[in-house]
């Protein structure tokens, strides 16, 4: 895909130079870029899904290497790869009957491989069927690389369908479905704020005192939604040195008529005894339940634990990451 190269390099540069900031923007632009990659990709006659996955994988590695801290990039790439696998399965599921996906292999985490274990059972079943079937011209002519087990299922599905004419139709349909699914993903990334804010009323009732640190758009929308529904609450905003984004958040909250008090980060422990709930936004959510958040959040979490105050994290699904990092 030579015509994709300048677009990809451009985005990589933006990531490296931190021109794109914030997980939301990053996730969205990554998804859009991958959608363009998919649409530009020339689908071969065989192993389309595998080849497509490889292409996305290669692009994804570049993007992740550009800015390793922005985990949203990796998350989005993995989700696109998963979409491709899913679309492919729904194709092969038509061809392969009576398949129950029971076993899941325990591959180590590596980008791209983690999505393959879900298919291993399907692969095993199709392997079995291939072995039983007498070698025909079709199977011999099909290119079967060892690394991509996917090819077996896709080619066997192609076999069971029979006609070569159907293959080109299938190619277009796969690509079309993948692009549509990525479009859904982009929409999901965009509407995450609304979906999260809808739940605000369930958690914020009357006369609540809420504490937050720094500035998170998700938290802001969350609080706006609660205010819309006429819940009475007041907010303590900790400044969040060294960026002091708490000041900006306080200004925005006040404009909507929410009672706000700005405190310094050192006063968090002092104030938390009078707080009902801590609501924060984070940078990323880890697979083991941990979060990566702006500096100072650990202090707030420990204080909340000490005073048995609920610590609520609000984040869009593009922030959920596969890694299990911890200090």
């Amino acid at each position: 895909m030579p015509d994709m190269q300048p677009l990809i390099s451009d985005f990589v540069l933006k990531l490296k130079r931190r021109k794109v900031e914030g997980s939301h923007a990053v996730a969205r632009q990554t998804a859009e870029l991958l959608r363009s990659v998919v649409s530009q990709h020339r689908m071969g006659s065989t192993n389309q899904a595998a080849a497509l996955a490889d292409a996305i994988h290669a692009v994804g590695e570049h993007l992740i290497a550009a800015n390793p801290i922005e985990l949203a990039v990796g998350n989005t790439v993995r989700r696109v790869l998963h979409i491709i696998k899913e679309e492919d399965i729904s194709f092969t599921a038509v061809g392969i009957e009576g398949l129950s996906v029971t076993a899941v292999s325990d591959d180590e985490c590596d980008s791209g491989n983690d999505d393959r274990p879900t298919l291993s059972a399907a692969v095993l079943a199709s392997h079995a069927r291939n072995a039983l079937r007498a070698p025909s011209l079709q199977t011999l002519l099909d290119d079967i690389p060892v690394s991509t087990a996917l090819s077996h299922s896709s080619s066997s599905a192609g076999d069971s369908d029979g006609k070569t004419g159907d293959k080109s139709l299938k190619t277009r349909k796969l690509k079309h479905d993948v692009i549509a699914a990525i479009g859904d993903l982009i929409e999901e990334i965009d509407t995450c704020y609304d979906q999260i804010s809808e739940q605000a009323v369930e958690h914020i009732h009357q006369n609540e005192v809420i504490l937050t640190l720094g500035r998170s758009r998700t938290v802001k929308e969350f609080l706006y939604a609660a205010k819309e529904k006429k819940r009475s609450f007041r907010v303590f905003v900790a400044e969040g040195a060294p960026r002091y984004q708490g000041h900006a958040l306080a200004k925005e909250l006040v404009e909507k008529g929410i009672q706000t008090t700005v405190i310094t980060d050192s006063a968090v422990f002092a104030m938390i005894s009078r707080v009902n709930m801590v609501i924060v936004g984070v940078h990323a959510i880890m697979a083991n339940g941990g979060v990566i958040a702006p500096v100072g959040m650990n202090m707030v979490a420990l204080a909340a634990q000490r005073h048995a105050v609920p610590f609520v994290v609000v984040a869009g699904s593009h922030k959920v990451s596969f890694c299990r990092l911890c200090i």
């Binding site: 303590f236 400044e239 969040g240 040195a241 060294p242 002091y244 000041h247 900006a248 306080a250 200004k251 006040v254 008529g257 929410i258 009672q259 706000t260 008090t261 700005v262 405190i263 310094t264 980060d265 050192s266 006063a267 968090v268 422990f269 002092a270 104030m271 005894s273 009078r274 500096v295 100072g296 650990n298 202090m299 420990l302 204080a303 000490r306 200090i327």
Partner: protein, 320 residues
Amino acid sequence: QVGLQYLSGEVSGGNGRCIAMLLAFREAIKDYSTPPNKTLSRDLTAKVSSYVSFFIECRPLSISMGNAIRFLKNRIAKLPITLSESEAKASLQSDIDRFINEKIVVADQVIVSHAITKVRDDDVLLTYGSSSVVEMILEHAHELGRKFRVIVVDSRPKLEGQGLLRRLVAKGINCTYTHINAVSYIMHEVTRVFLGASSILSNGTVYSRVGTASVAMVAHAFGIPVLVCCEAYKFHERVQLDSICANELGDPDVISKIPGRADLGDLKNWADNENLQLLNLTYDATPSDYVSMIITDYGMLPPTSVPVIVREYRKEQLWV
């Protein structure tokens, strides 16, 4: 004059303010002359009270100052009536001198000698804000040739750690400077935490500069010993459950202005908006379970022994 110094923040810190106040009282006593038809003790007590209310207007009293004032009034009340005016004045002045000497200067030396035993080679010590006692400990340890480095944690709006940092670096001590949000990031390198206190309350709660509680909490979470250094005259028999019950409010404008960052002017007109408040707390209360040990001039004790000291201390005051 001393009152103005308090107001401007030139004199700050429990010991500093107390000494300044007592010296001011000493001067006042020297210049004092009993008006006719009045007894020395009652009139002087009234005068002292008026001075105290002036101080309170400038800045609310710290607990150390409160204790010192109580001591002084006690001494005035105990003056035998037979003493002449000049003798009474001289006796009071020597009392004040003795108080400053015993309870602050010598006490600090005793604390330093105790605490030095806790500083070992290759230690990484963390301290918060600027405490006069902790500074003395670090300087003394450095003079003795111990190899250690110091992490100074600071916070807005007072940024007291910067002064401490300058003084320590001038002595040649290896220092790192960071702000309070980063405490959980650097805590894994730290071996011991030394904190100063404005006062220690009866249930072992440490009442000190806002932010101390957070530092102690994070240290506790990492399993690092927290050593609080405090002279015995600052102990108080009151009990406080959290930081909100009794606290001092600082100037809220200081929060809205961030020196050196003119671009962050979001809160410039905060007073105009009725929904927006800025809260500037001065003190906070650290629960006793975060404190491993308290180092005083009476020795090194666990937080549970504080009521004993308070009791003994009161008794001693009567004998003196």
